[in-house]
């Protein structure tokens, strides 16, 4: 134990003899464990991320994700953290702050951003490849192959990473890349960051030199799940090997690697021997005369070349395959980019054993000088915190949820509960979306222009393409949506013809699929009858068919804006009430003094909740409906009419908020009944019966009293609704809902105590102490609130969000 901690976030299990990614992770693990107590967290999307055996240095845990991607779309391996993932990550983190934090691969940057701020600040991000260049390179390859859809996907991924890299350049001090060529570009783009070149290296043991076999054999090693390797294998089998066989009829061509299954038929048809997931590569290398790397796309540096050098084999490669390896063509490797050139280079080595031996020897020396990792250090016993997957969901989440009492990492859980991290990430995601769309570099590339042309062609000929697809397409596989499709079809309320006629954007898609993909989310009706039904339901809920019954209304203005604003809010209230056909009683706090317009009653109270409490009770005593209003804003003329109609439709048994306009709170509501989790306090209608039952609002909550009131109302059997046709402009109280101030933070803590949510309370207390200890006031409240009515699972939204 060294006493210092290092934290490694990696997308794969570090493995000395795994694929390129695993080997690079292994190199990090070896380096970090040499000087620190290493904590490795493997952020795994599927079982392939943790395959491999061998012991890992230090402690390690597995964070299972369902890889939601950005807004539900799996984008370029990016993992979008949510509160569940943050909680799961929290459970795996070391107790002590690490001295080094290494984030392996850019697509884990989102996960890294959820680390405590001081940890995230010192994070070193190892990009390995320049993802933009890599994805563009793959896109070009796919375009060459006519895989337009995949090419567009790769281009989108490139654009995505372009935006991401631009952000990261601004926020990360140390960036690591595998190839010097990539690093040069990055240094030019971002001169203030430390850009480190960390070549891909491999580890021993160094095999003994074995003479090449008598049978001329070409070997290509690569994981066939990676498209550039697929392309290289096909290039070798169908272009290079036939040329070579004309002069070397006895030539054997061997392709070895993981995931060969999809390639078997095609490669075997071209006379290639395929070795799927071989146990021992040493023997395969020993039986090869020449190792080839005809790779034409991808990024970073190619470990397959290093591995060939390690096994004392001469290499023929494309210039792309040796980028970043500082190899001298003709000395360490023979380089050719065309099929004819490649065949010629192979023929040269096969015909000249001395040349082959010299190339192999120099290559091996080059490897040992630059790319050989020292033997791995003695590893500490494994103390795994891995949690096995059950349902493609974060596993540690449940453990975190089940945990009672104060959490082990209050600071981090505080961040989770507050969802401030998530908010920041959402902002980053939005910014990233902007950035990716305006990347000049991408638009300037030939690949992008070509893709645009291809896209045009596809658009122009989409009917023909649709027809072709119908002819050639295999029967659709039974996917995860089958149940949903069946549910829609069986519902009896889906009229496919009507839906198609009403939604011209369907084009060639089946209406049910379109509904599940688009219509459902955009509240589009499924049939004429359903549209009428929902229309009627909404109309009933809004009370649009009702004649307003006479009611007594008290409007309580809590707070003390300037005199001009006092006039505006009272004028707007009187106008809105006049249009509703009623004369309200308006109450304001005594602080208004002479600013209070004529006819407004002043009541003694200090602070918003106290004023609302007093006014509400006064209104209830008079048998009046109470309208709690923030006087910094003003009413839309139709606001009070809409609120009273909805209240009447709900038999005056509902707490109803006017919609904050124009910046709405994102809280979700039922689009037909308009029921919602809680109602905001900008303009809030409180029926008489509720004030009688609940006895006013909680005086200890400055900003979140409406949340508490709403939950209590639901506990007492009242409905809580939002009225989309009643608008209230918040005026100077307008703010971006995503930002939380210290007062709200303190209220959040108090609310959690009131509703007996101990984990959230502990988390918020920790966050308060971290942000501004001065605002922390320990509450001591005896409460009869039912925790089941509260929602602390959505941070300071206190409810699911619409966006």
């Amino acid at each position: 134990m060294t006493g210092t901690i290092a934290l490694l976030l990696t997308p794969v299990r570090p493995c000395a003899d795994g694929n390129g990614l695993a080997r690079r992770a292994w190199a990090w693990a070896a380096e970090l464990s040499a000087g620190h107590d290493l904590h490795t967290i493997i952020v795994a999307s599927d079982h392939r991320a943790i395959r491999g055996d061998g012991r890992l240095p230090g402690r390690h845990g597995v964070l299972w994700t369902n890889r939601q991607g950005i807004r539900g779309q799996a984008t370029a391996d990016w993992i979008e953290p949510d509160t569940d993932l943050i909680a799961a990550l929290t459970a795996l983190l070391p107790k002590q702050a690490p001295d080094r934090v290494v984030v392996f691969r850019a697509y884990l940057a989102g996960v890294a951003a959820t680390l405590p701020a001081e940890w995230a600040d010192r994070a070193e991000i190892d990009f390995d490849d320049d993802e933009v260049r890599t994805r563009l390179s793959i896109a070009r390859l796919e375009l060459r192959q006519g895989r337009w859809r995949q090419a567009l996907h790769s281009l989108r991924a490139a654009r995505f990473f372009s935006g991401l890299q631009r952000e990261l350049r601004a926020g990360v001090r140390t960036l690591t890349l595998a190839a010097e060529k990539d690093a040069v570009r990055w240094r030019r783009l971002h001169p203030s960051a430390t850009v480190v070149v960390r070549p891909n290296r491999i580890t021993g043991p160094i095999p003994p030199t074995i003479l090449p076999p008598n049978a001329p054999t070409l070997l290509f090693v690569g994981s066939m799940g990676y498209r550039p390797n697929q392309d290289a294998a096909v290039f070798l089998a169908e272009k290079i090997a036939p040329l070579l066989r004309q002069e070397v009829p006895a030539l054997r061509v061997v392709v070895a690697g993981f995931g060969m299954a999809p390639m078997l038929t095609r490669l075997r048809a071209a006379g290639v021997e395929c070795l799927d997931s071989p146990d021992d590569l040493a023997e395969i290398y020993a039986n090869a005369s020449v190792v080839v790397a005809p790779v034409r796309a991808g990024g970073g540096t190619k470990i397959k070349v290093l591995e060939a050098w390690l096994h004392h084999r001469p290499v023929v490669a494309t210039s792309h395959a040796v980028r970043g390896l500082m190899a001298v063509p003709g000395r360490h490797v023979l380089v050719a980019d065309t099929a004819a050139g490649f065949a010629s280079a192979c023929r040269q080595l096969l015909a000249d054993p001395d040349l082959a031996a010299a190339i192999a020897s120099d290559g091996h020396a080059h490897l040992t000088e630059h790319f050989l990792l020292p033997s791995p250090p003695e590893v500490a016993p494994i103390a795994s915190a891995a949690v096995p997957p059950t349902s493609n969901k974060m596993i540690a989440t449940d453990a975190a949820r089940r945990r009672d009492g104060p959490p082990a990492r209050p600071l981090l859980l505080a961040r989770q509960a507050l969802a401030s991290t998530q908010t920041a990430l959402r902002d980053i995601a939005a910014e990233r979306d902007h950035a990716l769309a305006d990347s000049r570099m991408i638009r300037g590339t030939r690949a992008w222009r070509l893709a645009e042309r291809v896209h045009d062609v596809i658009n122009r000929n989409r009917w023909m393409l649709a027809l072709l697809r119908q002819v050639t397409r295999k029967p659709p596989a039974v996917g995860p949506d089958t149940r949903s499709i069946r549910a829609v079809l069986d519902s009896g309320v889906f009229d496919a013809d009507w839906y198609r006629a009403e939604n011209p954007d369907i084009r060639t898609e089946h209406p049910v699929l379109h509904y599940l993909r688009v219509g459902r989310l955009r509240l589009r009706p499924t049939s004429a009858a359903e549209r009428e039904r929902t229309g009627q339901a909404r109309s009933l809920a809004l009370g649009q068919n009702l004649t307003l019954a006479p009611v007594r209304l008290v409007i309580g203005l809590a707070g003390a804006p300037d005199a001009a604003q006092c006039q505006i809010v009272v004028r707007s209230a009187l106008l809105s009430a006049e249009l509703a056909g009623i004369t309200p009683e308006i109450l304001c706090p005594a602080q208004w003094g002479e600013a209070a317009p004529d006819g407004v009653c002043q009541i003694p109270a200090t602070g918003t909740p106290a004023a609302q409490h007093n006014a509400m009770l006064q209104a209830a005593g008079e048998g009046a409906i109470y309208l709690a209003v923030d006087p910094r804003g003003f009413f839309d003329p139709d606001c009070i009419t809409a609120l009273l109609r909805m209240s009447q439709a709900a038999d005056h048994r509902a707490l109803i908020e006017a919609t904050a306009f124009p910046r709405e709170h994102p809280r979700a509501y039922d689009p037909n009944s308009f029921d919602t989790a809680w109602a905001g306090g900008g303009c809030l209608l409180i029926p008489t019966a509720m004030a009688d039952t609940l006895g006013g609002c909680e005086a200890g909550l400055e900003t979140l009293w409406p949340v508490d009131l709403s939950w209590r109302a639901r506990q007492a059997g009242f409905a809580v609704k939002t009225c989309p046709t009643a608008l209230y402009h918040p005026g100077s109280a307008d703010r971006d809902w995503r930002w939380i101030d210290a007062e709200t933070l303190r209220d959040g803590h108090r609310l959690a105590v009131l509703w007996q949510h101990h984990a959230a309370a502990a988390a918020m207390r920790a966050e308060i102490l971290r942000c501004d200890a001065a605002v922390f006031v320990p509450p001591s409240v005896i409460t009869n609130r039912n925790p089941a009515c509260a929602d602390f699972a959505h941070g300071f939204g206190f409810a699911p969000s619409r966006w």
Partner: protein
């Protein structure tokens, strides 16, 4: 007495008398602006006498709430055969504007309270002619029975950050900008009336080639653009785009490209874009092509040169 040097004239254009509710919401968002003085010019097309009376009644309500905001109606009664005289309505508003600052808001869009305060401050601080803010894009389902607007999603903001981005793509809705008329020649304060669509982008291209723009506040959200499910947006949504509309949009896209190929960027803007030496006769398309070929501008996040001087004697005198 209104101080014209601070006054923002806001042109609100409306073509449909049945959309007074939405107009009311736009006006409500203007009443909520923290900037004063403010003058709202509602330019109405295809409103007959009863419609105009109804419009006045509706606006009277808002006048009662805050009399400090001037709400005026301009009846655009000219019959020139255009379905929506979108451009002409703006020009009609410009003709009667008298404040130093000018803004445009469509009847179905909204602004957050700090919008004009933010952009006017930016214009004053930067000395530039036009300032832009960010606009959130909200998806809204309009219930045909109740006419309730149910917001169900936020879309990613319009992509773009800089003038070069604008030259490539019209990413700034009309209500994302405020113009300082003292820095723009009167001849340029006019929207091309031949364009029923894309008129805003064409105007922005013309102004962008000649005057200094500020995108410093583009990350500050100042308002919302609403994508409505009833297909009433004047954009080419996949939802409402039939073949005719596609053809129309493609036609105007060609026209915009023609503008890119013919509008010459003045030397001051070229220098402000970061070019070492102005290139005589450099068009917008020429600039974009050179950037795409690489090396023309190394790092153009925004204008690098100091702001340009106010316009000369032929500029607007307030």
């Amino acid at each position: 007495m209104v101080d014209n040097s601070e006054l923002v004239d806001v042109i609100v254009r409306i073509h449909d008398p049945s959309r007074l509710d939405e107009l009311g919401h736009a006006v409500l968002s203007l009443l909520g602006q923290s900037h004063r003085p403010l003058r709202v010019l509602v330019v109405a097309q295809r409103f007959d006498a009863p419609d105009l009376a109804a419009l006045e009644v509706r606006l009277d309500r808002y006048r009662r709430i805050d009399p400090s905001v001037a709400l005026e109606v301009i009846d655009y009664a000219r019959q020139d055969g255009l379905a929506d005289a979108r451009s002409a309505l703006i020009n009609a508003g410009i003709a009667v504007a008298r404040g130093r600052y000018l803004a445009v808001l469509d009847y179905d869009d909204t602004l957050y309270p700090a919008a004009y305060t933010t952009l006017v401050q930016e214009l004053r601080a930067s000395g530039r002619a036009v300032a832009f803010g960010g606009i959130a894009r909200k998806s809204v389902a309009i219930d045909p029975t109740t006419r309730a607007a149910l917001s169900f999603g936020l879309r990613p903001r319009h992509p773009g950050q800089t003038l070069v981005d604008m030259f490539r793509l019209g990413f700034c809705p009309m209500h994302s900008m405020v113009l300082d008329r003292s820095r723009i020649a009167p001849r340029d304060l006019r929207v091309d009336e031949l364009l029923p669509i894309c008129e805003d982008y064409e105007w922005q291209l013309r102004l962008g080639a000649r005057y200094a723009f500020s995108f410093a506040r583009i990350d500050d959200e100042i308002g919302e653009y609403r994508y409505k499910s009833d297909g009433s947006n004047t954009v080419m949504l996949t939802f409402n785009a039939d073949k005719t509309r596609h053809a129309m949009w493609n036609g105007y896209a060609d026209l915009i490209e023609e503008r890119r190929q013919t509008l010459v960027i003045v030397p001051e803007v070229q220098l402000a874009l970061g070019l070492a030496e102005p290139i005589a006769g450099l068009t917008i398309r020429g600039l974009l092509d050179r950037i795409d070929q690489g090396g023309l501008i190394q790092s153009p996040p925004d204008y690098l040169a100091p702001p340009m001087a106010p316009h000369g004697p032929d500029g607007f005198a307030y």
